[in-house]
């Protein structure tokens, strides 16, 4: 049984979808004033400052940690720079108990939810307090208490998982949804299409949030797809869709707030395409000068989402230059001090090599571990990170635990 509702024609008429031009929703001009006809979402001073703090925290953390990577203190880093409004504006429009599944460039969402500088640092340095037990590369954060799924490197795998997670939320009936972040490059993966189609078919409360930041490493969006961005794909799945100015925190907030309503109240999945720009390199291992111009970057620097938000705050008299200065200095100091402490902490216990593969360690893996320990005892100098581990020395560990 086909379900097409189209009418019949008797000559071969092709269509190219040009009639579906999707507009870009904007509220906030760069000077902090609203576009004519635009109505700002109801964000009070307290929430506005929470959003802004998260933006500045993210920017400063990114600047400092990239510098730390350049100094050789950190193996790898990825910045959110330029995309803070897209990420934090959307996270702020959710309920704090909604699930967030991120790609890897959305640390702003965690900062908004209250992930501390200390928690960021422990993961970045993979020390004994890292919730992920030093197993993943830097920026693969996760927090159960903040309802933020641990990040994994493979691209787009989180998208159908978000559909599944949100289906479970729908059955649980507690009024929660899942928001999943991904880039316009990841949207080329099969998992993206699978996820949107399944969400539409099964009416799942999930928000697909695409950060169209112009580049997948070096590949420009123009070589990623021939269509007008990612948004038109929603029509193919019969899904609500909106395109927003990703550097406009108010537009992103309002779009996400409405999307959440559709998701939670009507079980309608939504696709949001946020048009933004990756001002930073893809990662600390990338150099954008090989594939894009300084002029292009300069155009986007003029559209800085944090400055735009700051201008908006000032237009309400919610923020001053001296408060800005104080916040920046405090955050820089905190980042530096916390980094020093995190770097000094010991590595995860040797036992974390074999735990959590399964709930219980299988006998064969235990046997491999016994063999390894005996080997390390014979060659302690070759294994400086674990030669003094309790599993090797037999002395009890100094265990620190907090809620993850």
């Amino acid at each position: 049984m086909t379900t097409t509702r189209s009418k019949t024609v008797h000559s071969p008429i092709f269509t190219d979808g040009a009639e579906f031009r999707i507009p870009t929703f904007k509220l906030l001009k760069q000077d902090g004033s609203l576009y004519k006809g635009g109505k700002a979402p109801a964000i009070g001073k307290e929430k506005a400052l929470r959003i802004y703090h998260a933006m500045v925290t993210t920017r400063i953390l990114d600047e400092r940690m990239l510098a730390a990577q350049r100094q050789g203190r950190l193996s790898f880093y990825m910045q959110c720079t330029g995309e803070e409004a897209a990420v934090i504006g959307s996270a702020a429009a959710l309920d704090d108990s909604d699930m967030i599944m991120a790609q890897y460039r959305e640390q702003g969402a965690l900062a908004y939810r209250g992930f501390t500088i200390d928690e960021f640092m422990n993961q970045l340095f993979g020390n004994d307090k890292d919730y992920g037990k030093g197993r993943q590369m830097p920026v693969h954060y996760g927090s159960k208490k903040l309802h933020h799924m641990t990040i994994s490197s493979p691209l787009a795998t989180q998208i159908p998982q978000a559909t599944g997670y949100a289906y479970g939320q729908k059955l649980a009936g507690e009024g929660h949804c899942t928001l999943v972040y991904f880039g316009e490059g990841a949207a080329s993966e099969g998992d993206f299409h699978a996820a949107l189609n399944m969400a539409a078919v099964h009416r799942v409360p999930v928000i697909f949030f695409c950060r169209n930041n112009g580049y997948a490493i070096s590949t420009p969006a123009s070589e990623q797809f021939a269509a007008d961005g990612v948004a038109p794909r929603a029509y193919g799945y019969k899904m609500d869709v909106i395109r927003v100015d990703g550097n406009d925190v108010l537009a992103v907030y309002q779009a996400t707030e409405k999307a959440r309503q559709l998701a939670v109240e009507e079980n309608r999945p939504v696709l949001i395409e946020a048009m933004t720009y990756r001002l930073a390199a893809h990662s600390s291992s990338d150099d954008p000068s090989g594939y894009r111009s300084k002029d292009e970057e300069a155009i986007w620097r003029e559209k800085d989402p944090i400055l735009r938000t700051q201008h908006w705050l000032k237009s309400h008299d919610w923020w001053t230059d001296s408060e800005e200065k104080e916040l920046q200095e405090r955050l820089r100091r905190e980042v530096l001090e916390t980094m020093k402490q995190a770097q000094k902490r010991p590595p995860p216990a040797l036992e974390t090599l074999i735990t959590d593969v399964y709930k219980e360690v299988p006998p064969a893996l235990n046997a491999q571990f016994e063999k390894l320990k005996a080997h390390i005892r014979r060659h302690p100098d070759a294994y400086p990170k674990s030669a003094n581990d309790p599993a090797i020395t037999g002395k009890p560990a100094n265990i620190q635990k907090g809620e993850a």
């Binding site: 159908p160 709930k359 893996l365």
Partner: protein
């Protein structure tokens, strides 16, 4: 007890699990009102509703991605991949996501509730793409459990154990036996242990090891060998990952000989792993080389299935040669 074929036993296990826990969900291609192409999920949608047993779009990577998310949320998904041959679009979700979910999050999140069911194996004139035995690919992935039942009683007990197990389980069902294998199955809930092999028959001359549909082949091959006066010890491995090294090694220490058989191609097959481990554990006790009777290193053929297949004559010959070495 009731007489059931393997499909009925699997259907009964799913029914039992869904009745006991409303968070258990069954889904996959054609799994809904139709009950699956093999009818393993018959009547489940009628009984438990469309929200708990449903069709998915035709996209294996989506099915497993969706299942991973559901399991992470705390649901207990039982996802069906219609044929094991079609599991590969989901390989990334299984190998990079399912298997690593708990480890990479430091145990903050896990998909332990997930069970993936897939019919596997040849002997049904299925050709290249309805006959494969892909267990070795997954056996190479720490974090997964891989289980293969041999008969209806085992299928129900192992499937219920897989659904309850705190780790994700791939449950490969020998489709050749779906209707061919019939036996007594308790109607109440019961679980059989994962990670434990079962000695089906004690013997002294040679250990013959397999799993799933190959156990039926072994049974007949051993009958032939015993007519020659060879005493065979028969072991069903049941769990490919983690596998029960102790039970197998103990048996080989006694018999001094080992024949392993599986349908999957020889090279890179799981028999190689078993042989390597057993020679480590039993080196001084071995009286003949460990024999592997497997599918040939070719895609699974159609017309010449018997020639390709590790059938009873080939297994019998391997047993005979092992003892006569």
């Amino acid at each position: 007890m009731a007489k059931m074929n393997m499909l009925q036993a699997i259907n009964n296990a799913l029914d039992t699990a869904m009745a006991a826990n409303e968070r258990v969900l069954c889904f996959g291609e054609d799994v809904g009102i139709f009950g699956g192409v093999f009818r393993a999920t018959s009547n489940l949608q009628q009984k438990y509703g469309k929200s708990r047993c449903f069709n998915t779009p035709l996209v294996e990577q989506g099915i497993i991605g969706f299942a991973n998310g559901l399991a992470a949320q705390g649901s207990v998904p039982v996802a069906e991949i219609q044929f094991a041959d079609y599991i590969f679009p989901a390989f990334d979700q299984i190998v990079n996501e399912t298997a690593k979910f708990r480890y990479r999050s430091g145990n903050l999140f896990d998909v332990g509730g997930l069970t993936i069911r897939a019919p596997y194996g040849g002997g049904i004139a299925g050709g290249l793409y309805h006959s494969q035995s892909p267990e070795a690919y997954f056996a190479h992935t720490p974090g997964l459990k891989v289980v293969v039942p041999r008969n209806p009683h085992q299928a129900k007990g192992l499937l219920l154990a897989a659904i309850h197990d705190p780790d994700p389980v791939l449950f490969f069902e020998p489709k050749r036996l779906y209707r061919a294998s019939v036996g007594e199955v308790p109607e109440e809930a019961y679980q059989l242990p994962l990670g434990e092999a079962e000695v089906l028959k004690e013997g002294t001359d040679v250990t013959v090891l397999g799993w799933g549909a190959q156990m039926e082949v072994i049974e007949h091959a051993v009958e032939m060998a015993e007519k020659d006066g060879i005493s065979c010890e028969v072991i069903d491995l049941r769990s490919i990952l983690p596998w029960d090294v102790d039970t197998v090694a103990e048996s080989v220490l006694k018999t001094g000989r080992l024949v392993i058989t599986h349908e999957a191609p020889l090279t890179g097959g799981f028999a190689g792993e078993i042989a390597a481990t057993v020679q480590e554990r039993c080196f001084l006790y071995l009286e003949s080389p460990i024999a592997r009777v497997a599918g040939m290193d070719t895609p699974f053929p159609l017309v010449l299935e018997q020639e390709h297949f590790p059938n009873l004559l080939k297994v019998y010959e391997a047993i005979y040669d092992s003892v006569e070495f």
